[in-house]
Subunit: 161 residues, 2 copies
């Protein structure tokens, strides 16, 4: 028998999943630069391990991340609401609902920026391949995924923040 | 400089990606049972390797797949349009746009069925962990992911179709 979907059961309304409490793992001054985003970890809510799916909101002025690329992990985004600007180290394009983009490992560096007065809502998907590294062409930052699954950030010369 | 998004460039309108030509890899009689679906392989369009992202349309009466579970791969769905029924080996729930569900490996067996008169459009995401097997509690079918990345289907006693 069909029935109304109970929250926390087989399925969830994505917006009912609580936002992640820690807005970012970046050290300052980068932490503050991504304060205009809010991530709901949808995949984790179901015990998904092999990849992450976030429902991410960018408030006006918000940035999805620093301009970055991954060494081993792929990323994919699908726009649900709003018109963010996809900024890369090659070019920029304005996206609309129903647009999508994929970022294979070692591809273009990328970030989403909300230059509008309205919220942006999008899905972001990334796998969890071990040994991944994040590189940031415009910032003095590098990231290595530790064996505990946590990102370790340093200056580009390896010194800690 | 911002500019209009060119198809085939950094980003794509998801509905502009051509549907997969082969509707299903199932042997008959199962092949025909999923003829009411259409898959656009969004991740592949960008060269994403570690996971797949499909934009899938279920026509009225369409089924996403046979009732199944994976041994190693996780799956996730996000409903964009329509009200499909999520059928599992435990219970059923009717989903709406903005609802999502995740299916960890070895979890509940699942399928989406469109029992309405309108199309259903949703995103489905799955990783590509090697050595995966699909099991089908209601059908005489089993599937093993071959080293070539192709599914090999047999009867449950191992005999070929």
């Amino acid at each position: 028998m069909d029935k109304e979907m109970p929250a926390g059961s087989l399925a969830l309304r994505a917006l009912d999943v609580a936002p992640r409490k820690k807005p970012s793992n970046y050290p300052e001054p980068f932490y503050s630069r991504v304060s205009g985003r809010e991530k709901r970890q949808l995949g984790d809510a179901f015990g998904i391990n092999n990849f992450g799916v976030n429902l991410t909101r960018l408030f006006p002025g918000g940035e999805s991340a620093l301009l970055h690329r991954h060494s081993k992990q792929d990323e994919f985004i699908y726009i649900l609401e709003g018109t963010p600007t996809l900024v890369t180290d090659q070019e920029e394009v304005v996206l609309s609902p129903g647009d999508c983009a994929g970022f294979p490992a070692q591809g273009v560096a990328h970030q989403l920026v909300n230059r509008t007065e309205a919220d942006v809502l999008y899905l972001e998907i990334g796998d969890r391949t071990k040994g991944d590294e994040g590189s940031y062409p415009k910032d003095d930052l590098m990231a290595k995924l530790g064996p505990d699954g946590q990102w370790q950030f340093t200056h580009k010369d390896g010194t800690p923040y």
